[in-house]
């Protein structure tokens, strides 16, 4: 019986599930337990004896959580939108080239992605300073765009490659100009890769710390949520930080669960797998 499930597997499954779930559990305990049960104890208990919303409510009153979250939202949508704006034409063009040239371009884009974030962020922030883009939503978005652009181009190129070759020619023979062929025939067919590229860009931007930290560092109300959260953590405000972390994490959990079937190794490792 080759398909019989070995009961030992449940031990491994349980151990792994516990390991990966535990950090969420800690966040939950800190956010929803009264402090006398968390920071008040030398060794905090692992199960909630009491649940309260006081921490969350107080945190929202004490520190500005919505401001940084709204900024993160703005930045993430600009990054996702700009990624498509640059990535769709690039993916289309590169898909049309011979494999030899297109692979070189993709490889080039990914080599760029290997540049250390901090090394690039530092001179960029100096350019942005002279262009008055420091501490702005646009500045952070433009810097983060670098992180997401190669993967976006790669995913969208894959989408165009998977279309039948004659499709575009047939549409063109019918007399449609390139722009309307693009909008009416091609784009709807690659809506899934476009969606994946947008979601991944959005999530990357939502989580990104290094570029945001260097480009918009100083005032917490001026920065995105990861930078503001860092600020609260270093100011030793664990309750506010926990509330912040919780509120900021809920949307990505929803996104990952909803789009889980699209999260595949070959997309995420970007181009390096055949």
């Amino acid at each position: 019986m080759p398909n019989k499930t070995n009961p030992l597997i449940y031990i491994v499954v349980l151990a792994l599930a516990l390991l990966f779930f535990y950090p969420f559990w800690v966040l939950f305990l800190i956010a929803f337990e009264p402090t006398k049960l968390t920071f008040g104890l030398i060794y905090p208990l692992q199960f909630p004896l009491e649940i309260t919303l006081t921490n969350i409510v107080n945190s929202f009153n004490q520190v500005d959580l919505l401001g940084p979250l709204m900024r993160s939202l703005e930045v993430a949508f600009i990054v996702g939108g700009l990624a498509l704006l640059l990535g769709i034409p690039a993916g289309y063009g590169i898909a049309k080239l011979t494999a030899r040239i297109s692979n070189k371009i993709i490889a080039f884009l990914f080599i760029i992605n290997m540049m250390p974030g901090l090394v690039i962020a530092i001179p960029i922030s100096l350019y942005f300073y002279s262009a008055h883009l420091e501490n702005t939503v646009l500045g952070v978005a433009l810097a983060q765009e670098l992180v997401v652009l190669p993967l976006t181009v790669f995913i969208i190129m894959g989408g165009f490659r998977s279309l039948p070759r004659d499709l575009e020619n047939q549409a063109r023979v019918d007399g449609a100009p390139l722009s309307s062929t693009f909008a009416r025939v091609l784009l709807p067919l690659i809506r899934v890769p476009i969606l994946i590229a947008f979601i991944l860009s959005w999530m990357t931007s939502w989580d990104e710390f290094t570029y945001a930290f260097i480009v918009a560092p100083i005032v917490p109300t001026d920065s995105t949520f990861p930078v503001a959260l860092y600020n609260y953590v270093t100011r030793d405000l664990p309750l506010q930080s926990a509330t912040f972390a919780l509120v900021a994490t809920v949307p990505v959990i929803v996104l990952v669960v909803v789009f889980q079937k699209y999260l595949k190794g070959q997309y995420l490792s970007g181009g390096l797998i055949g």
């Binding site: 080759p2 499930t5 597997i9 499954v13 792994l16 599930a17 990966f20 779930f21 535990y22 800690v26 966040l27 060794y43 905090p44 692992q46 640059l86 034409p89 289309y92 063009g93 590169i94 080239l97 040239i101 692979n103 080039f108 884009l109 080599i111 760029i112 290997m114 540049m115 250390p116 901090l118 090394v119 001179p123 350019y127 433009l142 765009e145 190669p150 181009v153 999530m203 989580d207 710390f209 290094t210 930290f213 949520f225 990861p226 959260l229 860092y230 930080s241 972390a245 994490t249 990505v252 959990i253 996104l255 990952v256 669960v257 889980q260 999260l263 190794g265 995420l268 490792s269 390096l272």
Partner: protein, 297 residues
């Protein structure tokens, strides 16, 4: 003379044809140009600027920034960066392999299991750093809470440079293992199950099947995971910044610490150049060892 002219015109014919093909492609290259220009403008040029600036002292070429780097803790920070990167990669590879192999098997609750292990992929590094700072607190903390509940002695997690680095390399597993697991799972699911059945009919045990079928099948994917994750491992910044601050130093915190003071900014450029070199050397090494074939494909 005559012959030569004839040959010339023939050559130019070929050239013209080639030009025609090139011109056809040129249109498509134009589509990609904005994206390429963006990346060059905001990535290559800044990188060159950093390298160039690192060799300048008062506007003149000098190796001064590099000669003082060791006194800022260069060697220790390179060593620490390597320790954290190698350790974190090993932890992630082992956990990811376990996850990918488990996901290959049918079992009750497999959907929930894959959700639980994949969700941390979306977690912000800074959130992960914050949570692990609560878990590994010297006095109290949740990790010690677990130990004490099971009757063990509590551990002072941040007691030496090595244990500090250990906490950083372990904490990195949460956000980054899912990606490695997804990459490896892609490789495992391409192996035909009949191969395993045939092997077990031939009397190969579980261990032999693992070393002879599973590992060879995913070897190229391991090298890809090593490339993708390894490079980002050298770039970890938020996690050590929150968990251990500037002691012990890793390359990124060394760069940032010196960047944040105007007087030592050139030092940070030199350290950044060192990091750039290490990452380039590492990528070339991994590509040469294992990934070159996939990469060229």
């Amino acid at each position: 003379m005559h012959i030569r002219m004839h040959m010339d015109s023939e050559f130019s014919g070929i050239r013209e044809r080639r030009f025609k093909i090139t011109r056809k492609y040129l249109v498509y290259v134009l589509f990609a140009l904005p994206a390429i220009a963006y990346v060059i403008g905001l990535s290559i040029i800044p990188a060159i600027t950093v390298v160039y600036q690192s060799f300048l002292v008062a506007g003149k070429f000098s190796l001064y920034n590099y000669s003082v780097l060791p006194s800022y803790g260069l060697y220790a920070s390179i060593g620490n960066t390597l320790i954290v990167s190698v350790g974190a990669l090993l932890i992630q590879l082992i956990l990811a392999l376990a996850i990918a192999m488990v996901m290959m098997k049918p079992f009750a609750g497999s959907k929930i299991f894959s959700s639980i292990v994949i969700i941390p992929f979306g977690i912000s590094t800074i959130v992960s750093a914050f949570i692990f700072s609560l878990i590994f607190t010297n006095v109290g903390g949740f990790a010690n809470g677990v130990l004490v509940a099971f009757g063990f002695k509590p551990v002072v997690w941040f007691s030496s440079s090595i244990s500090d680095l250990g906490v950083v390399m372990f904490s990195d597993f949460w956000k980054n293992t899912p990606l490695v697991a997804l990459i490896l799972y892609g490789g495992l699911s391409s192996v035909s199950p009949t191969l395993y059945e045939a092997a077990s009919v031939d009397g190969a045990g579980a261990f032999k099947r693992f070393t002879h079928i599973t590992l060879p099948a995913i070897a190229p994917l391991i090298s890809i995971a090593l490339l993708v994750r390894g490079v980002s491992e050298f770039n970890i910044f938020a996690l050590p910044l929150v968990l251990i601050g500037y002691h012990p130093l890793i390359l990124n915190t060394l760069i940032y610490e010196n960047y944040s003071t105007l007087a030592t900014r050139p030092i940070s450029y030199a350290a950044a150049t060192v990091l750039l070199l290490i990452i380039m050397a590492y990528s070339i090494f991994v590509l040469k060892i294992g990934g070159a074939k996939q990469y060229a494909k």
